[in-house]
């Protein structure tokens, strides 16, 4: 096969052809199955994808069709996406944990005729959706388990479609080639639904130009090579996964590893040892929490050694990573620490080989961020959006700081409006929201500037962008001082005991908070304290738990009071919620961001109680179980007052 020249690299299928010709025998995908890592080279991958594409074409998939894809990260699911693209049709990956009702909206909205799913669970959901959404003609499933008895007139297996494609290969391959080479930069590459902290999800249409340019720029920024290893475990419907596991993977030709099952992720991570790694802050938080819990159970000597080493790492680790000057003695100590503590710890976490690691999606607590950096893991922050094909700003190596989200990514221009809202323009800027020109117009102006919806500012000396909060969440308190809920919430979420926080106070006299405890961390603590409990609700209402949470809040009040701009955000009163905030109940987005309006609405009785001075409140809340059934929880919650530091007095005293 001839080498494909760069100006022909206009689509993912074109990149696939290029990879086959220059690194056909290198691994493209690995998946752990039956306890062994199975791998596919680029040549094998190409064959799998082409055959599937031929099969799809035979089923009637045509240019411009939307094909929904729902499943966990498996090579076959990625192949399905590229096969759809090969026909110049549009893959629409959906969140696999969406309930049927959410899926129905999206499937109706994009008018998908074909749905490719991972397993029986998804088939069941789509069949349920079919009762209300009429357009779906065919469901193609990958894992046949449990599906043997189903009525198969509208069901096909992935393998069947592939075999059909294989049999047509000889006669139809030239036709497929023709379609493949007709794809242009301006054709649609993928449509991704934003999870939407407000209202219905919107379909973000991204062109080949968006994806290819962004993948190229970002791969060059971090000098990604074809030898990188990544582990694909984040939802396929999320733009990040599309860029990392498809865009960048096909551009640079690195290998994407798929875990055996979601539960085995930690083992699989350790076995692969990714060199390029990506995770939302929550994953890092959870891992840190589990490390801390295990250390609490360790013996005294180990605990002492761990604490000593971490104190040293905190002091010098980040500096060593950034190449700053560090004393010889500290370097020797750190070296020893690396042998005995940091190295093994990194190995346990699966982070031994990380060259570039990113966190994005939400602000990460500075302490969590520093923890990983101090271990010598090159963790950086990235600020991005689906509408930008991910990249807006990111940290260059050697310029990593926890308080900024980095400098503008290559090809991205930034501007900050009068209101403080951040705007950007880049080659990755989306084409439109599907069937929603009104929203498109609101978000993107005629010159291509896109509103991020976040308030922030660019530091003059360094060019680093600092994000304060969601523009619409930043407000004023009654006395005119600044209200930035996220800032406070992130400080509290650093405590392993606290999973989620929602702070209120916009237009009010003082700030209050809802707290969700972390059942794993607090449960472990309860076990050691011999506290018996039967449910989240019972544990959350325990006096000792309340006491601990109260201490945490008073500590952060102290630290907030030191920042004169935000001192008004100290929390005066709080309650621990009787249920965990959950995406199934609409309280969080599928990417686990807090939906403030919905929470304010749903728990308005609790908020009233927080502000009217009452010491307890009774409430009843509707909950949705995983299988879609509904129930309700009744509870009486106590409200606690916390100490705050009065800054006017303090300033007077000084």
């Amino acid at each position: 096969m001839n080498t494909v020249s760069t100006n022909e690299l206009v689509s993912i299928p074109a990149l696939l052809l290029r990879n086959v010709s220059i690194r056909g025998d290198m691994p493209a995908y690995r998946e752990k199955e039956f306890g062994i890592w199975q791998s596919w080279t680029w040549s094998q991958t190409s064959l799998e994808i082409e055959n599937f594409a031929l099969g799809l074409r035979d089923l009637g998939v045509e240019k411009g069709d939307f094909v929904a894809i729902v499943g966990r990260n498996r090579p076959a699911m990625y192949w399905a996406m590229v096969a759809v693209q090969m026909l110049n049709a549009v893959p629409v990956p959906l969140y696999q944990d969406s309930v049927a009702e959410e899926m129905a909206y999206v499937l109706e909205h994009c008018g998908a005729k074909y749905v490719i799913v991972g397993d029986q669970e998804q088939v069941d959901k789509i069949l349920e959706v079919q009762e209300s959404v009429s357009g779906i003609e065919k469901i193609i499933y990958f894992d046949a388990k449990g599906l043997r008895k189903y009525e198969h007139s509208r069901l096909s297996s992935f393998i069947e479609v592939q075999e059909k494609g294989q049999s047509l290969r000889e006669s139809q391959l030239t036709k497929l080639d023709k379609i493949r080479s007709s794809i242009t930069l301006d054709d649609i590459c993928v449509m991704l639904y934003t999870s939407g902290t407000t209202g219905r999800p919107k379909g973000v249409v991204l062109s080949n130009r968006n994806i290819i340019e962004t993948s190229k720029n970002s791969a060059e920024f971090d000098n990604l090579k074809s030898s990188e290893e990544t582990v694909a475990y984040l939802p396929m419907a999320w733009v990040g996964d599309f860029i990392f596991s498809i865009g960048q993977a096909y551009w640079t030709g690195f290998c994407v590893n798929c875990p055996e099952s979601p539960e085995t992720l930690n083992t699989d991570l350790r076995e692969i040892g990714p060199s390029y790694y990506f995770a939302p802050p929550r994953v890092f938080e959870t891992q840190l929490t589990s490390v801390m819990i295990r250390m609490e159970d360790a013996g005294n000597f180990k605990k002492w050694l761990f604490e000593k080493s971490m104190a040293l790492a905190k002091r010098v680790g980040g500096n060593i990573l950034d190449g700053n000057s560090v004393g010889v003695i500290d370097r020797i100590k750190y070296f020893l620490g690396d042998i005995f503590i940091f190295g093994p710890l990194k190995n346990t976490l699966g982070f031994s080989k990380i060259r570039v690691g990113y966190t994005a999606g939400e602000a990460i607590g500075p302490e969590i961020f520093e923890f990983y950096r101090s271990l010598g893991i090159n963790l950086k922050q990235l600020y991005g959006q689906t509408e930008a094909s991910v990249f807006i700003t990111q940290h260059p190596d050697g310029e990593v700081r926890s308080d900024t989200v980095g400098v503008a990514s290559p090809g991205v221009e930034l501007k900050v409006a009068e209101s403080g809202e951040v705007f950007y323009r880049s080659p990755g800027v989306f084409i439109e929201y599907f069937k929603n020109s009104e929203s498109t117009g609101e978000t993107k102006d005629r010159d291509g500037w896109v509103a991020t919806g976040d308030a922030g500012f660019v530091e003059e000396e360094t060019g680093h962008l600092r994000i304060i909060d969601r523009a619409k969440d930043v407000g004023k308190m009654l006395d005119g001082s600044l209200f930035a809920p996220k800032y406070v919430e992130n400080k509290l979420k650093f405590y392993p005991n606290i999973l989620e926080v929602v702070v209120f106070g916009n237009g009010r006299e003082f700030c209050t908070a809802f707290i969700n405890i972390d059942l794993i961390a607090v449960g472990n603590w309860a076990e050691r304290m011999n506290i018996a409990y039967s449910s989240y609700q019972e544990l959350a209402g325990h006096d000792l738990v309340m006491g601990t949470i109260k201490e945490h809040i008073e500590e952060i009040n102290q630290s907030i009071s030191e920042d004169s701009m935000l001192a008004g955000c100290q929390i005066n009163r709080f309650l621990v919620l009787h249920k965990e905030l959950d995406a199934d109940d609409g309280e969080l987005t599928r990417t686990r961001k807090v939906r403030r309006n919905i929470i304010e609405d749903k728990f308005s009785d609790l908020i009233t109680a927080l502000y009217d001075g009452s010491s307890s409140v009774s409430t009843e809340t509707e909950v949705t179980y995983e299988d879609g059934r509904k129930g309700s929880i009744k509870a009486t919650l106590t409200i606690h007052d916390t100490k705050t530091i009065d800054i006017s007095q303090r300033m007077a005293a000084e």
Binding site: G35, I36, K145, G146, R148, K149, S261
Partner: protein
């Protein structure tokens, strides 16, 4: 579906139920003066899910032990695949293609899940102890084949994450699943489950029910199970035998059994109004 007991029909969900796999003929089992089973007859058809239910002490477990060949009834005979079954040792029963799980989990607690499931393959291993010690040639190939079969079961029952975990560290619900995995590893024709859902919460019961149905439809394994939970039994099984005080008081499809007055009395008590 009047000729059900003769077999050879297709269920509403498309599974093939074949001929009679096992037949109990007038079984009576006594322990000294106690009559545990009294003149019981019923059959198990190939490919069906057959449940045995009844209140505590009804003789369900005794019945299962007769099916498995562990108890030899004083009267009556067990006809398995067309011929009367003589008194057998447990390993001989296993070789006949019968596997079971236990009411009180009987796993090797100190061994990993993987090793436990591997023991289920024992009947499939043919190389001698010496070649297994040397670990070369045929023994190695055999181990690899067996491991592959075991991995497929691990995948099927979704226990990959605990593959290397010692069984003693697992919660109850998962232990039950591991026991099912070990029984499946023997590739049985007839799978006996002794209270597979005892002591489970609702979610675990749902998972287990799903697995039992999947085993039946994917591998075509005939399943005989004892269960307490009426709701579960009625949803899972094709036919139900109801026992009380060592006697058979009902036999038929879940619907038939549910409307049988004697069964209602035994299960729910007789109302005295």
């Amino acid at each position: 579906m009047s000729n059900e007991s003769e077999g050879n029909f297709v269920t509403t969900d498309g599974r093939n139920i074949g001929g009679v796999m096992m037949e109990m003929k007038n079984i009576t089992l006594r322990f000294g003066g106690v009559v545990a089973l009294e003149n019981i007859s019923f059959n198990i058809l190939e490919g069906e899910v057959r449940a045995i239910i009844g209140p505590n002490g009804a003789g369900k477990s005794s019945m299962l032990n007769v099916i498995s060949g562990f108890y030899i009834p004083q009267e009556g005979e067990v006809i398995f695949q067309g011929s009367p079954r003589p008194s057998l040792k447990p390993f001989e029963v296993a070789h006949q293609g019968i596997a079971r799980t236990f009411q009180n989990i009987a796993l090797f607690e100190g061994m990993s899940v993987l090793d436990n499931v591997m023991t289920g393959r024992l009947t499939k291993m043919k190389t001698g102890i010496f070649s297994q010690m040397i670990w070369a040639g045929k023994a190695e190939r055999e181990e690899i084949e067996n491991r592959e079969a075991v991995e497929k079961i691990i995948d099927f029952l979704e226990i990959q994450a605990i593959r290397k975990t010692p069984v003693s560290r697992l919660p109850y619900g998962l232990k039950k699943r591991v026991e099912l995995a070990r029984a499946l590893a023997a590739e049985p024709n007839l799978l006996l489950l002794d209270e597979p859902m005892a002591g489970m919460n609702v979610e675990e019961k749902q998972d287990m029910s799903r697995f039992i149905l999947d085993v039946n439809s994917e591998f075509g394994t005939t399943i005989a199970l004892i269960e307490h939970d009426m709701g579960v039994v009625m949803d899972l099984s094709d036919r139900v035998v109801v026992m009380d005080y060592g006697r058979k008081i009902g036999d038929g499809t879940p619907d038939e059994v549910r409307n049988n007055q004697e069964v209602i009395d035994a299960y729910l008590g007789v109302s005295h109004d």
